[in-house]
Protein backbone atom coordinates (compact mmCIF):
# COMPACT_ATOMS: atom_id res chain seq x y z
CA UNK A 1 0.00 0.00 0.00
CA UNK A 2 2.88 2.35 0.80
CA UNK A 3 4.27 1.95 -2.68
CA UNK A 4 0.84 2.77 -4.10
CA UNK A 5 0.69 6.02 -2.15
CA UNK A 6 4.22 7.00 -3.21
CA UNK A 7 3.35 6.40 -6.87
CA UNK A 8 0.14 8.40 -6.43
CA UNK A 9 2.09 11.37 -5.04
CA UNK A 10 4.55 11.23 -7.95
CA UNK A 11 1.76 11.00 -10.53
CA UNK A 12 -0.15 13.83 -8.88
CA UNK A 13 2.92 16.07 -9.07
CA UNK A 14 3.63 14.98 -12.64
CA UNK A 15 0.12 16.08 -13.65
CA UNK A 16 1.05 19.59 -12.54
CA UNK A 17 4.61 19.64 -13.89
CA UNK A 18 3.64 18.32 -17.30
CA UNK A 19 0.91 20.93 -17.62
CA UNK A 20 3.73 23.48 -17.91
CA UNK A 21 5.51 21.56 -20.65
CA UNK A 22 2.75 20.13 -22.79
CA UNK A 23 0.37 22.15 -25.00
CA UNK A 24 -3.04 22.51 -23.42
CA UNK A 25 -5.12 24.26 -26.03
CA UNK A 26 -7.74 22.15 -27.72
CA UNK A 27 -6.50 22.57 -31.28
CA UNK A 28 -3.03 21.52 -30.18
CA UNK A 29 -4.08 18.85 -27.72
CA UNK A 30 -3.12 15.88 -29.88
CA UNK A 31 -2.24 12.96 -27.67
CA UNK A 32 -0.51 14.74 -24.85
CA UNK A 33 -2.97 15.35 -22.05
CA UNK A 34 -1.67 13.90 -18.83
CA UNK A 35 -4.21 12.46 -16.38
CA UNK A 36 -1.71 10.41 -14.46
CA UNK A 37 -3.37 10.51 -11.04
CA UNK A 38 -6.45 8.73 -12.38
CA UNK A 39 -4.36 6.31 -14.44
CA UNK A 40 -2.33 5.49 -11.32
CA UNK A 41 -5.44 4.74 -9.26
CA UNK A 42 -6.22 1.89 -11.68
CA UNK A 43 -2.68 0.49 -11.66
CA UNK A 44 -2.11 0.57 -7.90
CA UNK A 45 -5.39 -1.03 -6.79
CA UNK A 46 -3.84 -4.54 -6.43
CA UNK A 47 -1.23 -3.08 -4.06
CA UNK A 48 -4.00 -2.21 -1.60
CA UNK A 49 -4.55 -5.97 -1.19
CA UNK A 50 -8.34 -5.62 -1.37
CA UNK A 51 -8.40 -3.19 1.56
CA UNK A 52 -11.11 -1.23 -0.18
CA UNK A 53 -11.64 1.33 2.57
CA UNK A 54 -7.97 2.35 2.32
CA UNK A 55 -8.32 2.62 -1.44
CA UNK A 56 -11.37 4.86 -1.07
CA UNK A 57 -9.46 7.01 1.41
CA UNK A 58 -6.60 7.41 -1.08
CA UNK A 59 -9.06 8.37 -3.83
CA UNK A 60 -10.78 10.83 -1.53
CA UNK A 61 -7.48 12.42 -0.49
CA UNK A 62 -6.10 12.86 -3.99
CA UNK A 63 -9.45 14.05 -5.35
CA UNK A 64 -9.46 16.65 -2.59
CA UNK A 65 -5.88 17.71 -3.38
CA UNK A 66 -6.76 17.89 -7.08
CA UNK A 67 -9.62 20.23 -6.23
CA UNK A 68 -7.71 22.44 -3.84
CA UNK A 69 -4.38 22.70 -5.65
CA UNK A 70 -5.22 22.40 -9.33
CA UNK A 71 -8.83 23.09 -10.23
CA UNK A 72 -10.56 25.06 -7.43
CA UNK A 73 -13.64 22.93 -7.83
CA UNK A 74 -14.03 21.37 -4.40
CA UNK A 75 -15.93 19.01 -3.88
CA UNK A 76 -16.28 18.00 -7.55
CA UNK A 77 -13.10 15.95 -8.02
CA UNK A 78 -13.22 14.61 -4.45
CA UNK A 79 -16.54 12.92 -5.19
CA UNK A 80 -15.70 11.96 -8.76
CA UNK A 81 -12.48 10.28 -7.62
CA UNK A 82 -14.52 8.39 -5.05
CA UNK A 83 -16.88 7.18 -7.78
CA UNK A 84 -13.89 6.20 -9.93
CA UNK A 85 -12.48 4.17 -7.00
CA UNK A 86 -15.79 2.32 -6.82
CA UNK A 87 -15.64 1.71 -10.57
CA UNK A 88 -12.07 0.41 -10.31
CA UNK A 89 -13.05 -2.01 -7.53
CA UNK A 90 -16.01 -3.30 -9.56
CA UNK A 91 -13.88 -3.68 -12.70
CA UNK A 92 -11.22 -5.56 -10.75
CA UNK A 93 -13.93 -7.85 -9.45
CA UNK A 94 -15.32 -8.48 -12.94
CA UNK A 95 -12.13 -8.77 -14.99
CA UNK A 96 -9.23 -11.15 -14.71
CA UNK A 97 -5.96 -9.39 -13.92
CA UNK A 98 -3.77 -9.19 -17.00
CA UNK A 99 -2.18 -6.50 -19.14
CA UNK A 100 -5.00 -6.23 -21.69
CA UNK A 101 -7.67 -5.99 -19.00
CA UNK A 102 -5.64 -3.37 -17.18
CA UNK A 103 -5.52 -1.24 -20.32
CA UNK A 104 -9.28 -1.73 -20.78
CA UNK A 105 -9.87 -0.70 -17.16
CA UNK A 106 -7.76 2.43 -17.66
CA UNK A 107 -9.72 3.31 -20.79
CA UNK A 108 -13.07 2.82 -19.05
CA UNK A 109 -12.02 4.86 -16.02
CA UNK A 110 -10.54 7.74 -18.07
CA UNK A 111 -13.60 7.94 -20.33
CA UNK A 112 -15.90 7.74 -17.27
CA UNK A 113 -14.03 10.68 -15.71
CA UNK A 114 -14.52 12.72 -18.87
CA UNK A 115 -18.20 11.84 -19.09
CA UNK A 116 -18.81 12.65 -15.43
CA UNK A 117 -17.03 16.00 -15.88
CA UNK A 118 -19.15 16.67 -18.96
CA UNK A 119 -22.39 15.84 -17.18
CA UNK A 120 -21.82 17.54 -13.85
CA UNK A 121 -20.04 20.69 -15.07
CA UNK A 122 -22.70 21.24 -17.73
CA UNK A 123 -25.62 20.61 -15.38
CA UNK A 124 -24.38 23.03 -12.73
CA UNK A 125 -23.53 25.57 -15.45
CA UNK A 126 -19.86 25.94 -14.50
CA UNK A 127 -18.71 25.81 -18.10
CA UNK A 128 -20.05 24.79 -21.50
CA UNK A 129 -18.66 21.51 -22.78
CA UNK A 130 -19.87 19.83 -25.96
CA UNK A 131 -20.05 16.05 -26.20
CA UNK A 132 -17.96 16.14 -29.38
CA UNK A 133 -15.21 17.96 -27.44
CA UNK A 134 -15.36 15.35 -24.67
CA UNK A 135 -15.02 12.52 -27.18
CA UNK A 136 -12.15 14.31 -28.91
CA UNK A 137 -10.32 14.92 -25.65
CA UNK A 138 -10.96 11.41 -24.31
CA UNK A 139 -9.73 9.70 -27.46
CA UNK A 140 -6.74 12.00 -27.86
CA UNK A 141 -5.54 11.75 -24.29
CA UNK A 142 -5.73 7.96 -24.09
CA UNK A 143 -2.42 7.11 -25.74
CA UNK A 144 -0.16 9.03 -23.35
CA UNK A 145 -2.07 7.87 -20.28
CA UNK A 146 -2.23 4.24 -21.35
CA UNK A 147 1.49 4.31 -22.06
CA UNK A 148 2.12 5.81 -18.62
CA UNK A 149 -0.09 3.13 -17.04
CA UNK A 150 1.78 0.38 -18.84
CA UNK A 151 5.17 1.86 -17.86
CA UNK A 152 4.04 2.21 -14.27
CA UNK A 153 2.89 -1.40 -14.18
CA UNK A 154 6.27 -2.59 -15.48
CA UNK A 155 8.18 -0.54 -12.91
CA UNK A 156 5.87 -1.59 -10.07
CA UNK A 157 6.18 -5.26 -11.05
CA UNK A 158 9.97 -4.95 -11.02
CA UNK A 159 10.01 -3.23 -7.63
CA UNK A 160 7.48 -5.59 -6.06
CA UNK A 161 9.44 -8.62 -7.32
CA UNK A 162 12.72 -7.22 -6.03
CA UNK A 163 11.45 -6.17 -2.59
CA UNK A 164 8.85 -8.95 -2.29
CA UNK A 165 5.95 -6.53 -1.98
CA UNK A 166 2.63 -8.31 -1.65
CA UNK A 167 -0.04 -7.67 -4.24
CA UNK A 168 -3.38 -9.41 -4.73
CA UNK A 169 -4.67 -9.63 -8.31
Amino acid sequence: MKIGMIVLVISFLLDGFLSLWLPFQFNRLFILKAMFTITTLVVIYPYFNHKNSRFYQAGLLFGFLYDIIYTNTWPFNTLVFLLLCYLIIVLNYLLVSNMINLLIMQMVVLVSYELLSFLILNIIGYTTIYLSDVIFKATHSLLLNLFYGWLLLMVLNLISDKYKIKRLD
Binding site: L13, D15, G16, F17, S19, L20, W21, P23, F24, Q25, F26, N27, R28, K33, L65, Y66, I68, I69, Y70, T71, N72, T73, W74, P75, F76, N77, L79, S117, I120, L121, I123, I124, G125, Y126, T127, T128, I129, D133, F136, K137
Partner: protein, 278 residues
Protein backbone atom coordinates in the same frame (compact mmCIF):
# COMPACT_ATOMS: atom_id res chain seq x y z
CA UNK B 1 -42.72 -5.07 0.05
CA UNK B 2 -39.28 -5.54 -1.51
CA UNK B 3 -40.38 -3.60 -4.62
CA UNK B 4 -41.46 -0.76 -2.39
CA UNK B 5 -38.04 -0.70 -0.69
CA UNK B 6 -36.23 -0.57 -4.05
CA UNK B 7 -38.50 2.30 -5.07
CA UNK B 8 -37.52 4.15 -1.91
CA UNK B 9 -33.84 3.54 -2.57
CA UNK B 10 -34.16 4.97 -6.09
CA UNK B 11 -36.06 7.94 -4.71
CA UNK B 12 -33.38 8.59 -2.08
CA UNK B 13 -30.60 8.32 -4.71
CA UNK B 14 -32.48 10.76 -6.96
CA UNK B 15 -33.07 13.17 -4.10
CA UNK B 16 -29.44 12.98 -3.00
CA UNK B 17 -28.24 13.55 -6.58
CA UNK B 18 -30.40 16.67 -6.89
CA UNK B 19 -29.23 17.99 -3.52
CA UNK B 20 -25.64 17.13 -4.48
CA UNK B 21 -25.87 19.04 -7.75
CA UNK B 22 -27.36 22.01 -5.90
CA UNK B 23 -24.48 21.98 -3.43
CA UNK B 24 -22.03 21.64 -6.34
CA UNK B 25 -23.44 24.67 -8.12
CA UNK B 26 -23.14 26.69 -4.92
CA UNK B 27 -19.57 25.61 -4.16
CA UNK B 28 -18.10 25.30 -7.67
CA UNK B 29 -18.39 28.93 -8.52
CA UNK B 30 -15.70 31.33 -9.66
CA UNK B 31 -17.24 34.14 -7.65
CA UNK B 32 -16.95 32.24 -4.35
CA UNK B 33 -14.05 33.44 -2.22
CA UNK B 34 -11.70 30.75 -0.92
CA UNK B 35 -12.10 30.07 2.80
CA UNK B 36 -9.17 30.49 5.18
CA UNK B 37 -8.67 26.71 5.28
CA UNK B 38 -8.73 26.42 1.49
CA UNK B 39 -6.22 29.26 1.14
CA UNK B 40 -3.90 27.71 3.72
CA UNK B 41 -4.12 24.24 2.15
CA UNK B 42 -3.62 25.58 -1.36
CA UNK B 43 -0.59 27.65 -0.34
CA UNK B 44 1.06 24.83 1.60
CA UNK B 45 0.36 22.32 -1.19
CA UNK B 46 1.78 24.65 -3.82
CA UNK B 47 4.81 25.44 -1.62
CA UNK B 48 5.71 21.73 -1.59
CA UNK B 49 4.97 21.59 -5.32
CA UNK B 50 7.27 24.55 -6.03
CA UNK B 51 10.14 23.04 -4.01
CA UNK B 52 9.89 19.73 -5.87
CA UNK B 53 9.61 21.57 -9.18
CA UNK B 54 12.83 23.56 -8.57
CA UNK B 55 15.21 21.08 -10.30
CA UNK B 56 12.82 20.75 -13.29
CA UNK B 57 12.61 24.53 -13.42
CA UNK B 58 16.40 24.78 -13.37
CA UNK B 59 16.73 22.36 -16.31
CA UNK B 60 13.98 24.13 -18.23
CA UNK B 61 15.63 27.55 -17.65
CA UNK B 62 19.00 26.22 -18.82
CA UNK B 63 17.43 24.80 -21.96
CA UNK B 64 15.69 28.11 -22.65
CA UNK B 65 18.97 29.97 -22.10
CA UNK B 66 20.75 27.66 -24.52
CA UNK B 67 18.08 28.24 -27.16
CA UNK B 68 18.35 32.00 -26.62
CA UNK B 69 22.12 32.03 -27.07
CA UNK B 70 21.64 30.75 -30.60
CA UNK B 71 19.63 33.82 -31.57
CA UNK B 72 21.39 36.39 -29.40
CA UNK B 73 24.01 37.34 -32.01
CA UNK B 74 21.42 38.20 -34.65
CA UNK B 75 19.30 40.08 -32.13
CA UNK B 76 22.30 42.04 -30.91
CA UNK B 77 23.00 43.33 -34.41
CA UNK B 78 19.40 44.43 -34.79
CA UNK B 79 19.32 46.07 -31.36
CA UNK B 80 22.50 48.04 -32.03
CA UNK B 81 20.80 49.65 -35.00
CA UNK B 82 17.77 50.45 -32.87
CA UNK B 83 19.78 51.94 -29.99
CA UNK B 84 20.87 54.83 -32.21
CA UNK B 85 17.25 55.83 -32.60
CA UNK B 86 16.41 55.30 -28.92
CA UNK B 87 17.10 58.87 -27.68
CA UNK B 88 15.03 60.35 -30.45
CA UNK B 89 12.17 57.98 -29.67
CA UNK B 90 12.39 58.71 -25.95
CA UNK B 91 12.06 62.43 -26.52
CA UNK B 92 9.07 61.86 -28.80
CA UNK B 93 7.56 59.51 -26.22
CA UNK B 94 7.91 62.07 -23.43
CA UNK B 95 6.22 64.71 -25.55
CA UNK B 96 3.40 62.27 -26.44
CA UNK B 97 2.94 61.38 -22.77
CA UNK B 98 2.60 65.06 -21.86
CA UNK B 99 0.06 65.55 -24.64
CA UNK B 100 -1.84 62.43 -23.58
CA UNK B 101 -1.97 63.56 -19.96
CA UNK B 102 -3.29 66.96 -20.98
CA UNK B 103 -5.94 65.42 -23.24
CA UNK B 104 -7.02 62.96 -20.55
CA UNK B 105 -7.46 65.77 -18.08
CA UNK B 106 -9.65 67.61 -20.57
CA UNK B 107 -11.73 64.48 -21.32
CA UNK B 108 -11.75 63.16 -17.69
CA UNK B 109 -10.43 59.76 -18.80
CA UNK B 110 -9.11 57.52 -16.04
CA UNK B 111 -9.30 53.98 -17.31
CA UNK B 112 -6.28 53.63 -19.55
CA UNK B 113 -3.23 51.46 -18.97
CA UNK B 114 -1.15 54.41 -17.75
CA UNK B 115 -3.17 54.52 -14.49
CA UNK B 116 -2.07 50.98 -13.68
CA UNK B 117 1.07 49.29 -12.44
CA UNK B 118 2.12 45.77 -13.26
CA UNK B 119 2.84 42.89 -10.87
CA UNK B 120 4.95 40.27 -12.60
CA UNK B 121 4.28 36.61 -11.85
CA UNK B 122 5.40 33.16 -12.92
CA UNK B 123 2.98 30.48 -14.05
CA UNK B 124 3.24 27.39 -11.83
CA UNK B 125 0.57 25.16 -13.33
CA UNK B 126 -1.58 25.41 -16.42
CA UNK B 127 -5.07 24.13 -16.89
CA UNK B 128 -4.77 20.76 -15.15
CA UNK B 129 -8.03 18.93 -15.82
CA UNK B 130 -8.43 20.85 -19.06
CA UNK B 131 -12.07 22.06 -18.90
CA UNK B 132 -11.48 24.68 -16.23
CA UNK B 133 -9.33 27.09 -18.29
CA UNK B 134 -7.37 28.01 -15.18
CA UNK B 135 -3.73 28.97 -14.81
CA UNK B 136 -2.07 29.22 -11.39
CA UNK B 137 0.53 31.90 -10.68
CA UNK B 138 2.94 32.50 -7.81
CA UNK B 139 1.55 35.84 -6.58
CA UNK B 140 -1.34 36.20 -4.17
CA UNK B 141 -3.13 38.65 -1.89
CA UNK B 142 0.10 39.29 0.08
CA UNK B 143 1.54 40.79 -3.15
CA UNK B 144 -1.50 43.00 -3.70
CA UNK B 145 -3.34 40.70 -6.09
CA UNK B 146 -7.14 40.84 -5.88
CA UNK B 147 -9.99 39.11 -7.68
CA UNK B 148 -11.07 40.56 -11.04
CA UNK B 149 -7.68 42.12 -11.83
CA UNK B 150 -6.77 41.85 -15.52
CA UNK B 151 -3.80 39.68 -16.51
CA UNK B 152 -1.67 40.39 -19.56
CA UNK B 153 1.60 39.40 -21.21
CA UNK B 154 3.67 41.50 -23.57
CA UNK B 155 1.63 39.86 -26.36
CA UNK B 156 -1.80 40.87 -25.06
CA UNK B 157 -4.73 40.00 -22.79
CA UNK B 158 -4.60 36.67 -20.96
CA UNK B 159 -7.60 36.74 -18.59
CA UNK B 160 -8.51 37.85 -15.11
CA UNK B 161 -7.87 36.78 -11.54
CA UNK B 162 -10.68 34.65 -10.14
CA UNK B 163 -9.27 33.15 -6.94
CA UNK B 164 -6.56 34.43 -4.65
CA UNK B 165 -4.89 32.73 -1.73
CA UNK B 166 -2.11 34.40 0.27
CA UNK B 167 0.79 33.49 -2.02
CA UNK B 168 -0.87 32.18 -5.19
CA UNK B 169 -3.70 33.11 -7.52
CA UNK B 170 -5.73 31.55 -10.30
CA UNK B 171 -6.36 33.19 -13.64
CA UNK B 172 -9.40 32.44 -15.78
CA UNK B 173 -8.31 32.59 -19.41
CA UNK B 174 -10.23 34.59 -22.03
CA UNK B 175 -10.68 31.33 -23.92
CA UNK B 176 -13.30 30.46 -21.33
CA UNK B 177 -16.88 31.14 -22.49
CA UNK B 178 -18.05 32.52 -19.13
CA UNK B 179 -15.32 35.12 -18.95
CA UNK B 180 -15.09 36.41 -22.48
CA UNK B 181 -18.82 37.21 -22.64
CA UNK B 182 -18.09 40.11 -20.32
CA UNK B 183 -15.36 41.82 -22.31
CA UNK B 184 -16.13 44.88 -24.35
CA UNK B 185 -13.71 45.26 -27.25
CA UNK B 186 -13.01 47.63 -30.09
CA UNK B 187 -12.03 46.51 -33.59
CA UNK B 188 -9.69 48.83 -35.42
CA UNK B 189 -11.06 49.80 -38.83
CA UNK B 190 -9.71 52.85 -40.71
CA UNK B 191 -8.22 54.43 -37.59
CA UNK B 192 -11.41 54.16 -35.53
CA UNK B 193 -12.71 51.53 -33.13
CA UNK B 194 -15.88 49.55 -33.86
CA UNK B 195 -17.47 48.28 -30.62
CA UNK B 196 -18.35 44.66 -29.97
CA UNK B 197 -18.53 42.02 -27.25
CA UNK B 198 -16.37 38.92 -26.95
CA UNK B 199 -18.95 36.15 -26.86
CA UNK B 200 -17.28 32.84 -27.36
CA UNK B 201 -14.31 30.74 -28.26
CA UNK B 202 -13.97 28.08 -30.92
CA UNK B 203 -11.86 25.35 -29.31
CA UNK B 204 -11.19 23.36 -32.44
CA UNK B 205 -9.89 26.25 -34.53
CA UNK B 206 -8.62 28.49 -31.72
CA UNK B 207 -10.40 31.73 -32.44
CA UNK B 208 -12.41 34.13 -30.28
CA UNK B 209 -15.80 35.34 -31.49
CA UNK B 210 -17.01 38.93 -31.27
CA UNK B 211 -20.74 39.49 -31.55
CA UNK B 212 -23.05 42.46 -31.58
CA UNK B 213 -21.19 44.48 -34.18
CA UNK B 214 -23.91 46.68 -35.66
CA UNK B 215 -21.87 48.86 -38.00
CA UNK B 216 -21.78 47.74 -41.59
CA UNK B 217 -18.07 47.99 -42.33
CA UNK B 218 -15.56 45.72 -43.98
CA UNK B 219 -13.19 44.16 -41.48
CA UNK B 220 -9.75 43.69 -42.88
CA UNK B 221 -7.79 40.60 -41.95
CA UNK B 222 -5.09 41.49 -39.41
CA UNK B 223 -6.95 44.47 -37.91
CA UNK B 224 -6.21 44.83 -34.20
CA UNK B 225 -8.78 44.17 -31.48
CA UNK B 226 -8.29 45.93 -28.15
CA UNK B 227 -10.22 46.25 -24.88
CA UNK B 228 -12.34 49.38 -24.57
CA UNK B 229 -12.25 49.66 -20.78
CA UNK B 230 -16.07 49.58 -20.53
CA UNK B 231 -17.25 47.47 -17.61
CA UNK B 232 -14.38 48.53 -15.42
CA UNK B 233 -12.56 45.18 -15.15
CA UNK B 234 -10.18 45.44 -18.08
CA UNK B 235 -8.29 48.69 -18.73
CA UNK B 236 -8.62 50.09 -22.23
CA UNK B 237 -6.04 49.55 -24.93
CA UNK B 238 -4.96 45.98 -24.18
CA UNK B 239 -4.47 43.95 -27.34
CA UNK B 240 -6.84 40.95 -27.48
CA UNK B 241 -6.06 39.66 -30.96
CA UNK B 242 -6.26 40.27 -34.68
CA UNK B 243 -9.17 39.90 -37.10
CA UNK B 244 -9.32 36.61 -39.01
CA UNK B 245 -12.62 37.18 -40.77
CA UNK B 246 -16.22 38.32 -40.37
CA UNK B 247 -19.70 37.11 -41.33
CA UNK B 248 -23.33 38.07 -40.74
CA UNK B 249 -25.05 36.47 -37.75
CA UNK B 250 -27.90 33.98 -38.25
CA UNK B 251 -30.52 36.78 -38.44
CA UNK B 252 -28.43 39.05 -40.67
CA UNK B 253 -28.77 41.93 -38.21
CA UNK B 254 -25.27 42.13 -36.76
CA UNK B 255 -21.85 40.82 -37.63
CA UNK B 256 -19.77 38.10 -36.07
CA UNK B 257 -16.03 38.71 -36.14
CA UNK B 258 -13.53 35.92 -35.66
CA UNK B 259 -10.27 36.93 -34.03
CA UNK B 260 -7.00 35.14 -33.48
CA UNK B 261 -5.87 35.57 -29.84
CA UNK B 262 -2.71 37.66 -29.52
CA UNK B 263 -1.37 35.46 -26.74
CA UNK B 264 0.01 32.01 -27.42
CA UNK B 265 -1.56 30.26 -24.44
CA UNK B 266 0.59 27.19 -24.95
CA UNK B 267 3.69 29.26 -24.22
CA UNK B 268 2.45 30.97 -21.11
CA UNK B 269 5.28 31.12 -18.55
CA UNK B 270 5.29 34.69 -17.25
CA UNK B 271 2.39 37.10 -16.90
CA UNK B 272 1.73 40.59 -15.49
CA UNK B 273 -1.22 41.48 -13.29
CA UNK B 274 -2.64 44.91 -13.97
CA UNK B 275 -3.13 46.77 -10.69
CA UNK B 276 -4.65 50.20 -10.38
CA UNK B 277 -2.15 52.75 -8.99
CA UNK B 278 -2.57 54.23 -5.53
Amino acid sequence: MRKLEIKYIYLIILLLSIIGLGVFSLLINDKRELTFLEKALKDSGLAVYKVIYLPFNFVSDKMAQYREIETVYKENKLLKAKVNRYHLLQATNNQLNRDLQALKEILHLNNTLTEYELINATVISRNVGYWYNNVTINKGSRHGVKNDMAVITNQGLVGKIIKTSYYNSDIKLITNDDLNSMISVGIEVDNRLIQGLLRGYNRSNNYLIIEGVVENVTFLKGGQVVTTGLGGVFPSGILVGTVMGAKDDEYGLTKKVMIKPAVDFNNLSFVSIVKRKG
